[in-house]
């Protein structure tokens, strides 16, 4: 395939995308790095000089730091677990013959189109509100005390909302993967005496490995930067403050850009740890 000519053409054609992304990465990154070493307090008049590693030290030693890392991981992990588990089941179900498959698929896919802000607003006000929310009505209908979702189980509620938004994505990718499974393989397993559960565990699940990895990768990237859902629902209270949200508070609520930038650098480090970890798996799975 590759001649000298095509290789240099390839390099040339990669250039715009690479240069743009490099710029998009480097310019803000360098500025963030710069700010992170400055006492940059906009409300006090802006850049007040060199701060050394003060911002870094303050950011990690602040009592909010480790809980926020933990919250981030729980949120990402929780949503991944839910969307993948339910996504696999739903994909298997949707792969079965049924009436109105197309319509069901449309119903399932719909949450993916809803803006995060809208979905957070709708869930918060119309479903999770402990007095007027539909879930409260439902609980009362069954004679139970309504749950104050966003107070009593705030992180779980946010995980629920975010999972609702991302379930369609996981389901669709997994569905196409399920459909690509060679039916002869399932038949072979059947001939080999595997019962449905064994077929699922030994044939279907391993086949979905690659698709699951990709769901994990893409969703993680988006989930690490979840913001609107928290902003609208709890505003970071009750232990729902993720690292992203903490940075937001430092930058925009406390108006301490230096500190926030240091946080940003930490977040990049965290994201990269997660990414390297992920890409190890993905890289392996992509090669398969």
């Amino acid at each position: 395939m590759a001649t000298q000519h095509s290789r240099s053409a390839a390099r040339l054609m990669m250039t715009p995308a690479v240069v743009l992304l490099l710029g998009w990465m480097l310019v803000p990154l360098l500025m963030t790095l710069w700010f992170s070493f400055r006492r940059y307090l906009p409300l006090r008049g802006g850049d007040l000089g060199w701060a050394g590693f003060d911002n870094y030290v303050r950011f990690v030693t602040s009592s909010a730091f480790w809980p926020s890392v933990q919250t981030t991981l729980i949120l990402v992990g929780g949503v991944l677990a839910i969307t993948i588990a339910l996504g696999v089941l739903l994909a298997l179900l949707l792969d079965q013959p049924m009436w109105g498959q197309g319509v069901v698929r449309i119903l399932v896919i719909a949450p993916f189109f809803v803006m995060p802000t809208v979905s957070a607003l709708v869930w918060k006000n119309m479903f999770m509100d402990p007095v007027n929310g539909l879930l409260a009505h439902l609980w009362r209908f069954f004679g139970a005390e309504p749950v104050a979702w966003l107070t009593d189980v705030p992180l779980a509620s946010i995980v629920l909302i975010v999972s609702w938004q991302w379930l369609p994505f996981a389901t669709l990718i997994l569905l196409t993967a399920v459909q690509s499974l060679d039916s002869e393989q399932l038949e072979a397993a059947e001939m080999d005496g595997a019962r449905p559960l064994s077929r699922f565990a030994h044939i279907i699940l391993p086949h979905l490995g690659r698709a699951i990895t990709i769901v994990v990768l893409i969703q993680t990237i988006f989930l690490l930067s979840i913001f609107a859902e928290i902003f609208v629902t709890t505003g970071g209270a009750f232990g729902t403050r993720t690292l992203t949200y903490l940075i937001f508070q430092r930058v925009l609520e406390s108006q301490n850009v230096g500190l926030g930038s240091a946080g940003g650098v930490y977040a990049i480090i965290l994201a990269n740890i997660v990414a390297i970890f992920l890409m190890r798996i993905v890289g392996k799975n992509l090669d398969r």
Partner: protein
């Protein structure tokens, strides 16, 4: 034990009847080959026997027992699929072990059988590879290995060699034949390859559109095709079919003569011009035009004959090898 009997078996997909009522018995230990043009229902028939499709009516008996409602896993049959259907995420060893694992066979017994199968199939060195790291022939053998360890009543093969290249196919063909010699287990084998059918089968079943056209040993079919369809289908290159005057003189509507039964002679009853002459070294295939008998007459001459494009030839059919067919296409005895 592995006698398989189909009794008035039919199969419809929705409105379409793919298999009209069909009776067939495959004896224990027999190597039975299904051949027929694409879409004639070979795979469907195999899958009905395997239990992967439900029969619409009739009965499938295995060793006399009605198995029509038995699930595939319980029929005691093993199937080798066209795509091999190996489990890509399992090592060869795990692939072969899978049916035993499902049957709950103890680990030592599994190991024993795997080792035996691997030895028999020359797979010992590859037991820890994944299917993706194997060549076509090796995959084929793994698929067979997976079938063998179950010690099935019969093996079902659906075009198992069609994904292999020509050279490998010859080798694998022999291996399967030898396997059959050794195990003496019933085998049902679907193929659309002439040579495979002829060389491997104890019994060939020729299908067309779900109907059985002829059942018999390879040589029966070669020597006495029951009708034009079978005549044309069995033998390579195809039998030459001649209509018109010459046929009538021989008391037939259509006269069939195989390429290998026409000799190039100095002075014969038929003449023509050589079109393409294919020199294989061992044989020469002549495509002869302008004979006035059929558009092209194919002639096989043994060894290498120095004939080129455009040469005139004289041809003589072997009189005892003529096949006569009536206007209905049936053989005239």
């Amino acid at each position: 034990m592995g006698q398989i009997t189909l009794e008035k078996v039919t199969k419809s997909f929705g409105e379409v009847e793919v298999i009209p009522p069909l009776d067939l018995t495959i004896e224990d230990g027999e190597f039975c080959v299904f051949v027929g043009p694409s879409g004639c229902g070979k795979s469907t028939l195999l899958r009905l026997i395997a239990g992967l499709e439900d029969i619409t009516s009739g009965a499938v008996r295995i060793d006399g027992q009605d198995a029509s409602d038995t699930p595939p896993a319980k029929r005691g049959l093993a199937m080798v699929f066209q795509s091999y259907a190996l489990y890509p995420h399992m090592s060869v060893r795990k692939n072969i072990a899978f049916p035993m694992r499902m049957a709950g066979i103890p680990a030592e017994e599994q190991t024993r059988r795997i080792d035996a199968a691997a030895k028999a199939l020359n797979l010992t060195d590859y037991l820890d590879r994944r299917p993706g790291q194997l060549s076509g022939g090796q995959r084929q053998r793994v698929a067979i290995g997976r079938a063998i360890v179950r010690e099935p009543a019969a093996f079902l093969f659906d075009e198992p060699l069609s994904n292999l290249d020509a050279a490998l196919r010859v080798g694998m063909r022999l291996e399967i034949s030898e396997l059959h010699e050794r195990l003496k287990t019933t085998m049902i084998y679907v193929t659309h390859d002439q040579v495979e059918a002829m060389t491997m089968a104890d019994k060939i079943v020729v299908l067309r559109a779900g109907r059985i056209e002829q059942v018999g040993s390879p040589l029966e079919l070669y020597r006495a095709p029951r009708n034009l369809f079978v005549a044309g289908f069995i033998g390579s290159p195809r039998m030459n079919l001649i209509e018109g005057g010459v046929a009538q003189q021989n008391g037939a509507h259509t006269l069939g003569i195989r390429p290998e039964h026409i000799d190039v002679v100095a002075d014969g009853p038929w003449q023509g011009t050589v079109g393409v002459a294919e020199h294989l070294g061992s044989d020469t295939f002549l495509h002869v035009h302008d004979t006035g008998l059929a558009e092209i007459l194919t002639v096989r001459a043994t060894g290498d004959i120095e004939l080129r494009h455009g040469d005139r030839v004289n041809l003589a059919p072997r009189e005892d090898q003529l096949h006569r067919f009536g206007p209905d296409g049936l053989r005239i005895a």
